[in-house]
């Protein structure tokens, strides 16, 4: 009798404990892993998301930059974390590409997907005193000798690298023949460009804004079919060079696969409210980031399509395994 009672009590206690645990999520600080270096676009948007989750859920959301290996270190850290909801992270475009490039066995199925919040095309930048005045000048130089133009903006196979390869390919050249200097994100690549060590940086507008304002660098073209609303005078490559261009970076929030569904649902609901809020749009707009939303199933479907599209682009560029 006593045993039964104890067991019953224990079971009841356990059930009560786990019920409170869920109802109270989060009851302690949550770690948000950013797989790219501080100062880049993923870092800036990740910190906005973390701040707003913190405001809504009442626990600290601490941003940790885990850089290295072109985002592989950070993405692996998120994947390998305890799936208890207390470690989540920012997932980025590169996740659509690691398998196709063969750099890591990581894809969207390794994560509990919470929501997509941003999508942005990259742009092409040169130093202010560069000889290239227009994107057509640069295109001519690349056509003359694709190896002579040193470009940077991400690791090998990163979205900015792929964008560059796609553009070179669009000019009718072998995409694999172009030259690429791997860098840990936008900020180090911009430092290389401003110091005159490389000719071209392929990064996104917000990362380059301060250096553009300072007159150190210029934007030649937006790598998309539409002009960026904040920079209407920078021509899209589709218009300037007649290249069809659809590769764009994306950013979303996810945790390790196997997170409890109700915790994922809490985070998805809160993130959806955040992305829909004026405060978020204002902050993202001030920083020049495009806001999009896809939560749960939609995010999974979005990434499945991206995986295929990027895979095709990567093998066309000769980067695949």
């Amino acid at each position: 009798m006593r045993t039964v009672l104890t067991t019953a009590l224990a079971v009841f206690g356990l059930a009560a404990a786990s019920a409170t645990a869920l109802a109270d999520f989060p009851d302690r600080p949550v770690t948000v892993i950013v797989p790219w270096s501080a100062g880049g676009g993923t870092d800036a948007t990740g910190r906005i998301i973390a701040t707003m989750l913190e405001e809504r859920l009442g626990q600290p959301f601490n941003v940790v930059n885990r850089t290295g290996g072109g985002g592989i270190v950070g993405h692996t850290t998120i994947k390998d974390a305890d799936p208890d909801g207390y470690t989540i992270g920012i997932l980025t475009t590169e996740l659509s590409m690691y398998e196709a490039v063969g750099s890591a066995k990581l894809n969207f199925a390794d994560y509990s997907l919470i929501g997509l919040y941003n999508s942005d095309p990259s742009a092409i930048f040169v130093k202010a005193d560069s000889d290239f005045q227009t994107i057509a000048d640069l295109a001519d130089a690349v056509k003359a000798d694709p190896q002579a133009i040193q470009a940077s903006g991400a690791n090998f196979g990163g979205v900015n690298h792929l964008s560059w390869v796609s553009m070179v390919q669009g000019l009718g050249l072998d995409g694999a023949a172009s030259s690429w200097v791997p860098a840990e994100g936008g900020a180090p690549a911009l430092q290389l460009l401003a110091s005159g060590a490389i000719d071209v940086a392929v990064v996104q507008f917000p990362e380059a804004q301060a250096l553009m304002d300072a007159g150190e660098i210029r934007a030649l073209a937006t790598l998309g079919s539409e002009p960026n609303p904040k920079h209407p005078d920078v021509p899209p490559v589709t218009e300037a060079l007649g290249i069809e261009f659809s590769i764009a970076g994306w950013r979303g929030v996810g945790g390790p696969a196997g997170m409890p569904d109700d915790i994922t649902a809490i985070l998805t609901t809160e993130l959806e409210k955040i992305v829909a809020s004026d405060a978020f749009r204002d902050k993202m707009g001030a920083l020049n980031y495009g806001v999009v939303w896809a939560g749960g199933e939609d995010f999974t479907e979005y990434l499945a399509r991206r995986g295929e599209a990027f895979g095709a682009a990567i093998s066309a560029a000769g980067l695949g395994q």
Partner: protein
Amino acid sequence: MMDALALAAGLVFNAETLTVIVLASAFGLFVGAMPGLTATMAAALLVPITFYMDPVPAIAAIISCTAMAITAGDIPGALLRIPGTPASAAYVEDAYGLTRKGRAGFAIGISICAAAFGGLFGFATLLVAAPFLARFALNFSSFEYFWLSVLGLSCAVVVSHGGVAKGMLSLLLGLFIAQIGLDPLMGQPRFTFGIAELSGGISFIPAMIGMFALAEILRNGREGRPSVPQVEVANPFAGVGAALSRYRINLFRGAAVGSVIGALPGIGGDLGAWITYSLAKRTSKEPEKFGTGHPEGLVEAGASNNAALSSSWIPAMVFGIPGDAVTAIAVGVLFMKGLEPGPQLLTSNPQNFYAVLLVFVLANLLLIPFGYLAARVARNLFKVPRSYLNAAILLFCVVGSYSINNTLFGVGIMLGLGVIAYILQSRDFAIAPIILGIVLGPLVEQSFTTSMTIARGDLWGFFDRPIAAVLGGVTILIWLGIAAGAVFSARRRANPQT
């Protein structure tokens, strides 16, 4: 500019901002003085609180807290041989050496006062030369970073006691430890043996705690050394002024070098302390006293440390390129408060920029009274019998190395490296170069591979750019000097009569 300064003074000298500065400084002092807790953690913990503040108090909280936390990192270094930052690892032997001579208050006083001076010097530099220094820092590409980091590594070999060969071996061990993890170019695992936690690499904080503090506990245990009685003086800062004026050249040179190197995004502060410490040793009349509790290197590197801290804000504020986690957090706060970093911060709203500078001044002035308090309290620590004290230090070692990633893995790293350091030390190998190797190893590797990609494998690329050529020349000259010195002393040992 005067109008802007007057407006800035109005923004800073009001009850709210001043209260925030004092409270944030006290918080920073506490966090910095606790082994294992870092300035980054302190800043990150403050961010949610800054949401409810006006822009200037918000950024003031971050700045004063981190300035205090980084300087206070010297306190456990001096008292317990647990350096708070890689920069303070450069001079921890001298600071702890003074404590072992019974002069803990003096050691802390030197660190704090030199730091305050360096910080104020850095402020003056910011005021006069921020745009110029920012432009100068933009000239640094991977080629220059490569030479600078190699120069830093060479310095560690030059200053290490126990001889150049042993210093070099220590450094190589550190560089090897830095290899563990995923390679920065393609993300291939190296020396990880399939252990997931090793793929993240070995963090320098548990390494530093283990190699300095744990090794010292082990040594104490073996020697059964009693507690060091501390000199009873009414004023723990007595003699600090005299020491600073005696080594005033070191003080100014440290602050100047720190201000310039600090403006380079990413590495400034750590490199500055090592380069100035070795500069002090090379130019000293009594280099043999370095590492035993001699204030000269402490003055120069301490000043450089905080000067670099001030100027590390330059690239972040002028070009939006934050160098480390602390400035990245601060840049985030600036963005959130509508003070977007960039050249317009200096032109369109200069009062905000000058307000930030004034906060630097106040934070650095506050170092002195807060440091005085810390130094007075510190003396009492050594009234505790050594065996009890060791137990408490061990507890701090465990908690500190656990708190980095909240895993026991960090504790294991601390224990393993602590035992290795104890053995190495009993054979007279220097520990500091190992730490520097761990901190700078990834930078050396990455700047080398990036440069080689740009130069297409042509090694002359390292001398193609003017600044890189100068830095490379200096580095190679130092190497030749080290090699010549080693050959010379070996010859002298072989032929003692000549």
